[in-house]
């Protein structure tokens, strides 16, 4: 196949991925609404088809351009969507057995790709000189991997905050009606978010989750959401740290200084600081739970600014990535 053929394959696969994600998102949400297992299965199939098409789009783009397929914002966004869906399908759904979050993960992927196609599309082309370095393989991959994990953590945290307020309201109602409730496992009035206690219940996380699901439907409990969010963010943080360091090393090579407060550098630092604050808050008594979650949401917003706003509105050295 010629290079332009690959470019066409990349565009077709991109479109297929978007449509498959849209279908998967609708099916996952339908599963949440109607609680019919087949809907979840169909959503899962659509998500996997979309992920496959997404990966094909990335590979074809790389073949068409004869370089790594992450040289501009359009390509970063394609990668980011694939990673978010991949982490969701493999880790959240595969390992953590959370079936109900697919709609939200796919929604993020659809939005990312839609923004990419609308604002960032550029035809296949070679890298600008500043990007032409082996550090692009290290820095950009780490940055996108960290971003996708932070994004999943951010989504889980937002859902946690919503679910937590619902649970509190239910709990308040229960408490006013009955003598002090004795709840199995998950909810503990003294310290509703001592996750370790939740995990340590008889049989560990798995049984805990099932009893919660039996009680409050298929949607995971606030404690489970919070645990997923924390684990993803704790995993993302070193990757992000590494991405910033790799970026500094590259900046030293390309621009003659490792740190120059360029807007992208500044915002990646701000994102880092906020998530560092989140991890500290988790380790501090009295800051667990909702307060820490709010910090994580602020971090998620900072991540989006780092990713989008810096390229769209703020002039800086990373502007070539438009």
């Amino acid at each position: 196949m010629s290079l332009s053929d690959w470019a066409l394959v990349a565009e077709d696969a991109f479109n297929l991925a978007v449509w498959a994600y849209v279908a998967g998102m609708v099916l996952y949400f339908a599963y949440l609404a109607f609680r019919r297992e087949p809907l979840w299965w169909l959503g899962r199939i659509a998500a996997w088809v979309g992920l496959l098409a997404n990966v094909v789009a990335i590979v074809a783009r790389g073949l068409a351009a004869e370089r790594v397929p992450w040289g501009n914002m359009y390509e970063y966004s394609t990668m980011l969507a694939a990673l978010v869906v991949g982490v969701y399908l493999i880790w959240v759904e595969g390992r953590q057995k959370q079936k109900a979050l697919g709609g939200f993960a796919l929604m993020f992927a659809v939005l990312t790709m839609a923004v990419a196609a609308t604002f960032f599309f550029v035809p296949v082309g070679p890298l600008v000189p500043a990007l032409n370095s082996y550090w692009i393989k290290i820095h950009v991959v780490a940055a996108i991997a960290g971003s996708s994990l932070f994004a999943i953590g951010g989504i889980a945290t937002i859902l946690y905050l919503i679910k937590d307020s619902i649970e509190r309201r239910q709990l308040g109602r229960l408490a006013s009606q009955q003598p002090p409730p004795i709840m199995g496992g998950a909810i503990d009035l003294d310290d509703p978010l001592d996750l370790d206690r939740d995990v340590d219940g008889p049989g560990g996380a798995q049984t805990g989750t099932e009893t919660e699901q039996a009680r409050s439907g298929i949607f995971p409990s606030a404690a489970t959401l919070d645990r997923v969010a924390y684990r993803v963010i704790a995993f993302a943080f070193p990757i992000w740290t590494f991405a910033v360091i790799a970026g500094a090393i590259w900046a030293q090579e390309a621009w003659g200084r490792y740190w120059g407060w360029d807007p992208k550098e500044t915002w990646s630092f701000i994102t880092w600081v906020i998530f560092a604050g989140y991890l500290h808050a988790r380790a501090t008594n009295g800051w667990k739970g909702r307060r820490a979650a709010v910090i994580a949401v602020v971090g998620f917003v900072a991540l989006l600014i780092t990713y989008y706003a810096v390229n769209l509105w703020i002039v800086g050295l990373h502007s070539y990535a438009k």
Binding site: G125, P126, V128, P129, A130, N132, S133, W135, D196, V199, D200, G204, A205, A234, F237, P238, T241, F242, I245, A248, I249, W250, Q252, E253, A254, W255, G256, R257, Y258, G260, W261, D262, P263, T266, W267, F269, I270, V273, I274, A276, G277, L279, H280, T284, V310, I314, V315, G316
Partner: protein, 506 residues
């Protein structure tokens, strides 16, 4: 910790401001525009240091306070960490009251069983203390150790930054093709950013630009910029030849030389009849492009000053605009769509002749306020024009009066030259940050107690323990340890299934 965290968040907030307000070091032209557009706020911002947030006194103060608070936090933590590492694990009075507990009947005597279990734990990197038939063990100091390393490493970054910026410098060298630039204070273009403790000694090494090449795609997207240079020692002898590209700096005697930007340097020759007055390449700069026009669609500007030789006749100056690619220029004119002039293609100069008084012979600017325009003209590569009339001379025509000619078009490169001795320190600190971060997040502190009591022929091992972090993972580890300890202590004394055997967590 709280103070440090708040200071860190304040630092992040200051950074937000620094990324939204244009900054002098990053985008000076945007600061100037802002000052023009918003005189009141511009003035207020300037006073508050908002145009240079990261160099402002309050940002430095915040950083200093953050590090003071960090160190104040770290010293007691480090002390108690050292104490904890030195101390031997404490024995427990009751083994069966811990979260995880198991009993195993084994063949060995209590003494042997406890000894074997202690050896086993030590082999698995547990710190152990044994007293007779009791063993106490701990693992996971790396969690706190890694965390401390991570935090101390930031202090190392600060040291690296201070050393590097304090003793180093950074400046720009402008070199025209064929010329040699020597590393000395006077030869830096514009402001030299030197640290407070910079020793002021320049290396004297030379950089001779053999050629500069730029490569663009048809769309105008840059492909490659390369300065082909000879690096010379202070005596002028060749050290080596090197290509300096974006992402591929040269390194020499502690200096690092980076490709920064480039431009055109037409050789302008002025003469009076047969006497050549000036003949040198003139470094031009790009005319700022209006909104929506590609930067390289604009001509390059330069000038030549011809001060009066005797003081009686007026000074003369020639200002000019260089169009390196006349074909692209004509296309722009014909279509109305500005086209970038990226390569040399029948270049020409449009020049303006000024006569009067030059006020600023020493500076790098042309002030025409005391001069008047006397002629304009166009001169192509290899051509000569009269400065009196502005008209081009025919090839065979012998000149009268002042003339200007354009014999050659060269390119110049702008190289950034920097010395930063702090870079290795900062790099080391960055590595330590990562090395510390991983155990700080993923290691867990675990404690284990084993007590061996006589039981018939053999003994019974009572094992209790708990983990402070990663508790689900410890559950599996605990079971594995119990089995391994039982095996090490001589294996089961009686066939399995005894009512005393239980593994569980509570």
């Amino acid at each position: 910790m709280r103070t440090a965290l708040i200071l860190l968040l304040l630092l992040a907030l200051a950074s937000v401001v620094g990324s939204l307000v244009p900054q002098w070091p990053n985008t000076p032209d945007r600061v100037l525009r802002y000052l023009e557009d918003h005189p009141f706020w511009g003035e207020a911002f300037e006073r508050a240091g908002l145009f240079d947030v990261f160099g402002s006194w309050w940002f430095v103060l915040l950083t200093v306070l953050l590090f003071v608070s960090l160190v104040a936090c770290l010293i007691p933590r480090t002390r108690s960490f050292v104490r904890a590492v030195r101390a031997r694990p404490l024995h427990a009075r009751e083994v069966d009251s811990f979260r995880h507990y198991a009993e195993r009947r084994v063949a060995g005597t209590p003494e042997d069983a406890a000894g074997a279990a202690a050896v086993l734990l030590r082999r698995r990197f547990w710190r152990t203390a044994r007293a007779g038939t009791q063993v106490a063990a701990e693992k996971g100091v790396l969690r706190e150790g890694g965390s401390l390393l991570f935090h101390w490493a930031f202090l190392l970054i600060l040291i690296g930054v201070i050393v590097g910026k304090g003793t180093g410098f950074s400046g720009f060298a402008v070199i025209v093709e064929g010329d040699t630039w020597v590393d000395a204070r006077a030869n830096y273009d514009g402001q030299l950013r030197a640290g407070r403790f910079f020793d002021g000694e320049f290396t004297g090494i030379g950089v001779r630009l053999r050629s500069f090449e730029s490569d663009f795609r048809r769309s105008g997207q840059p492909m490659d910029f390369v300065s082909r240079v000879d690096l010379l020692d202070p005596r002028g002898d060749l050290i080596r030849r090197q290509d300096i590209r974006v992402n591929h700096p040269a390194q020499l005697e502690g200096l690092r030389i980076f490709q920064s930007s480039f431009g055109w340097a037409p050789v302008i020759e002025t003469a009076r009849e047969a006497d050549v007055l000036t003949s040198a390449p003139v470094v031009t700069d790009l005319t700022p492009a209006p909104e929506g026009v590609p930067a390289f669609a604009m001509p390059w500007r330069g000038f030549v000053k011809l001060p009066s030789a005797d003081g009686a006749t007026p000074d003369v100056a020639v200002s000019f605009q260089l169009y390196p690619d006349s074909e692209a220029f004509l296309t722009s004119l014909a279509t109305g769509e500005p086209v970038a002039m990226l390569r040399e293609n029948e270049p020409f100069l449009r020049f303006t002749v000024w006569r009067g008084t030059l006020t600023d012979l020493a500076t790098n600017r042309l002030d025409t306020s005391l001069m008047r325009r006397t002629a304009t003209g166009i001169v192509g590569l290899g051509q000569t024009a009269s400065l009196r009339t502005g008209e081009r001379l025919a090839p065979a025509e012998s000149p009268t009066g002042l003339t200007v000619s354009f014999p050659e078009l060269r390119r110049y490169t702008v190289l950034q030259v920097a010395e930063d001795r702090g870079v290795p320190i900062v790099l080391l600190a960055a590595i330590l940050i990562l090395v510390g971060l991983l155990p700080a997040l993923y290691d867990s502190r675990r404690k284990l107690w084993i007590r061996a009591e006589p039981d018939g022929e053999g003994s019974v091992l009572k094992i209790g323990g708990f983990a402070l972090q990663r508790k689900p993972q410890f559950e599996e580890e605990f079971e594995r340890l119990v089995e391994a300890a039982a095996r090490a202590a001589g294996g089961p004394a009686t066939p399995a299934g005894s009512e005393k055997e239980q593994v569980g967590s509570r």
